[in-house]
């Protein structure tokens, strides 16, 4: 449904006969540095990572200072505490580790005299059945998009996040879905990004994550943060983090599954 609105807004801009874009100077007071914690725990045995960085002012280069010296732990429902040592500056990892669906996990980060807590329960996995390519002709141009196909389990709330990589380069858009309108259906969801053009032979890899409700809200807020086009929300705001004490970022406990398709 969002896609239809997206198409509407594309038309809308086309309608504006001479729509034009230019880079402008803006005066923005610089915000204070904020701590950013990006923590992921999935159900695949392997490396689980927590990245800790600082935000930078608007006018700075997109180089984000790492935060070292933190004590990072994950605690499971049984009270087992796992330490994530710093393996690179600002990167805290644990190897050969995984989370179990329907289990509860808590994250704690202690750094610079502050403590940040977060928790989440890993949803049950939903199988990513297939990827497909959908062609839509706009004039003489055939626009190809990749769609994910899966069966949403009926009667339970499910939320999903998709990450798309084209020839191993991540697509710079947040794709997230909930089953509010699709509960129990065979769902085909198009991962539509107007900025990229898929060509024959492109290798597209998609990761499907089953995420919990708060994480869905987080990604949904990020996905509608884009700007001021008619389809976006009028006023951008910070997504609600599930981490305490004012940290930016998230602690996502999710299942993961990947598939690859070559564009025909």
């Amino acid at each position: 449904m969002k896609k239809s609105i997206a198409i509407l807004s594309v038309l809308f801009v086309l309608l504006a006969l001479s729509a034009c874009q230019r880079v402008i100077d803006v005066q923005i007071p610089n915000a204070q540095q904020q701590i950013v914690i990006e923590a992921n725990l999935n159900n695949q045995k392997g490396l689980q990572t927590v990245n800790i960085t600082n935000s930078v002012p608007y006018s700075s280069a997109n180089v984000y200072p790492t935060v070292s010296g933190a004590i990072v732990t994950i605690t499971d429902a049984l009270g087992n505490v796992y330490k994530l040592p710093e393996t690179q500056p600002g990167v805290y990892t644990i190897n050969n580790f995984f989370g179990k669906p329907q289990n509860y996990y808590a994250l704690q980060v202690k750094v610079n005299g502050q403590t940040y807590n977060a928790s989440g329960t890993m949803p049950a996995p939903v199988n990513l059945d297939s990827l497909s390519v959908i062609g839509q002709s706009f004039g003489s141009k055939l626009v190809k998009s990749v769609a994910v196909n899966f069966h949403d389990p009926a009667g339970v709330a499910n939320q999903y996040r998709f990450l798309m990589y084209v020839n191993a380069v991540q697509v710079q858009r947040v794709f997230t879905e909930s089953d509010r309108l699709t509960d129990g259906r065979n769902v085909t969801s198009v991962l539509y990004e107007s900025d990229i053009v898929l060509k024959t032979g492109d290798v597209v890899n998609v990761e499907m994550q089953c995420i919990d409700g708060p994480m869905y809200n987080y990604w949904y807020a990020l996905s509608s943060q884009g700007g001021n086009t008619p389809a976006d929300s009028a006023t951008p705001s910070n997504p609600t983090s599930n981490i305490s004490n004012g940290a930016l970022g998230y602690f996502s406990v999710h299942t993961t599954q990947r598939q690859t398709i070559i564009i025909p």
Partner: protein
Amino acid sequence: MAFKQTGRSCIRLWLAFVCLMLLLTNTPLFAQSRFTISGTVKDTLTGETLIGATVRITGPVKKGATTNTYGFYSLTVPKGQDTLSFSYVGYKTIIIRLLVTKNTTLNIDLGASNALNEVVVTDKAASNNNILEPQMGVNKLDIKEISNVPVLLGEKDVIKTIELLPGIETTGDANTGFYVRGGGSDENLILLDGAPVYNASHLFGFFSTFNSDAIKDITLYKGGMPAEYGSRMSSVLDIKMDEGNNKQYTAEGGIGLIASRLKLEGPIVKDKGSFMISARRTYADVFLKLSSDSTLNSASLYFYDINFKANYRLNDKNGIYLSGYFGQDDIGLKNNFSTAWGNTTGTLRWNHLFSGKLFSNTSLIYSNYNYTIQNFDKNSNFQVVSKIEDVNLKEDFEYYLGGNQSLRFGVSAVHHTIEPGDISSSSTSSFNPQTIENRYAYEFAAYISDNWKPTDKLNIVYGLRFNQFLLIGPGTFDTYDSNGNAITGTTYGSGQTVAHYFNVEPRFSASYTLNDQTSLKAAYNLNTQNIHLLSNSTSSLPTDLYVMSSNNIKPGISNQVSLGYYRNFDHDNFEFSTEVYYKWLSNEIDYRDNAQLVANQNVESQLLFGVGRAYGIEFFLKKKYGRYNGWIGYTLSRTERKFDGINNDTYFPARQDRTHDISFVNMFNATKRWSFSAVFVFGTGNAVTYPAGKYQIGGITTYYYTNRNGSRLPDNSRLDLGATLEGKPHKSYHSSWTFSIYNAYNRKNPYSVVFQNTDTSPVHTEAVETSLFGIIPSVTWNFKFR
């Protein structure tokens, strides 16, 4: 069931009010030494009634009146010889001497003078109504003025023209959405022949639903609204359709770059009744059909609208009017998706004269706005249907008491239906079929207002409006806590009261005349609103979602005080006015972060409620006559909102907060055939939220926001030019060419600003501004046959 109890007692109160009024209308109130002169003022040529024509008595008693919406006037004078003058801007004044010995009906036909620029104003009283009338915060537009103002693609538009008045700002470049004195764009009551028009825009707001061919009179109230108007917080835009020529048949129309229009009018029975039908359609899709591309030539992209009105005078005391509007937008790609939306309104009205003093109006009004969105894809198909519908029965009275008073009073009952969204889909679709419960409500209103002239200098209108809103079942109604979580859910049966709100709305405005050229005015009004528009986008999208006041949503309330200084110069050739206003708004609606408004049964859980304040000063200088005429308007204002949990619970600038707003409208009749116009506008950029910092999430640059609406879009300005060439005079045929240049100096006005990574190394952030309309020339050919 406390709700039910009070609900019933309020209905009782309302019924009592109706009875009181009916009683009043039957009371004989004639004093035999005084007699009433009443009648209708019409245009000689077309037989159409003239609204706001001035009737003056000069003689031993000096007195004045203006004609109402139906051209009716009433004056009560002592027995004796009187001189009456009838005048109307652009018409020749008629003076009649009359010996009054009984109640007299005097219908007058006024002849138009040749053109607006040739009017010699002989009768001062004809044009200083703006000084004498107590009403302030009001703008009336002459339809002739609108035809001279250059606009986008040559489609003259009433709403874009009112946006050139002080206190009124557009929601965006070339957009027909508007804000009045800091109110939201859904806080304007837009009436077409008394029927509310819910979505007054075509094609994402670039054109309004009002075809100016079909319009006779436009009045906009920004403050001190008369008590007969209610149900919106910020303004009333009252648009009356053309009634049609009851003397002869005429056809007129125009062919423009994007649309053509045709209007037919004529007598049903000569001098007794007339009809008018006016239609227009855009034809972008006709050009698409010429394309060899199969997607493009099967695409639909158009809108059309039809206005219709007929009236018939049964006799001197009774007249019937029937009018309607139907409009539709259609945008779609074959086998892909289609979107259609539009308004339908209808008004059936009966004018009845009980006597020369008591005028009544019975109206049955219908309004419907609906949209359908369809996706035809096998795996993601769906159809969403949504509508809002009003049925309204209304009774209005105007009672000319004689002496120095006239009363207006009436009652109204509205049945509202909102169908928020009905989703259907095929079995292969990703989407579930779903019906979101309809919502129903009754809205009853009663009002009374008195226009009283205690002295020659003081003129007061004061009144009360009572509004009773009842949200009724059937349905399940959840109540939400402050975090938007449902606490209770109650199921109500059909007709059971779920929530009710009773509001008393005082209205007051007064003028104190210092001399014939100068007056001071003051006004206070309280307005409430029970139908709220939810939209978290900045443009006018067809997917408007309406909600009613409910167990969660309280009625919006606005309080406004305003003061004004009015001064005319140069024998009323120049009008100057300045008004200051302060407005308090409560129960304003905003959305939670991540609000899901589309197809959400629990949409009320997504809302936040707050307060607002708006204040400012407006200056308006207008030259009314002569070869050169036009106006300049300037507004200095501030508009702020406050919501719990946003911006640390402090006031922040509303999106429409516009510090400076200037409009400069110039019209010049150069020769008998050529006239030129130029419009310049300037406004402070909208308040927007820009990122203050950034960080990286999942490999994507993410922005960090601090102050809500703490930044500004760049200022916007624009110059539009127009020229009209009138065809050579011909007995039964007239044509003209209108040329216009929109945005003559090709100013890039901001439509949106988005932030993205630069291509540089290291990567930085840049702000990219999108602007919509550059310089756009257009030409329209207009014709008229009679």
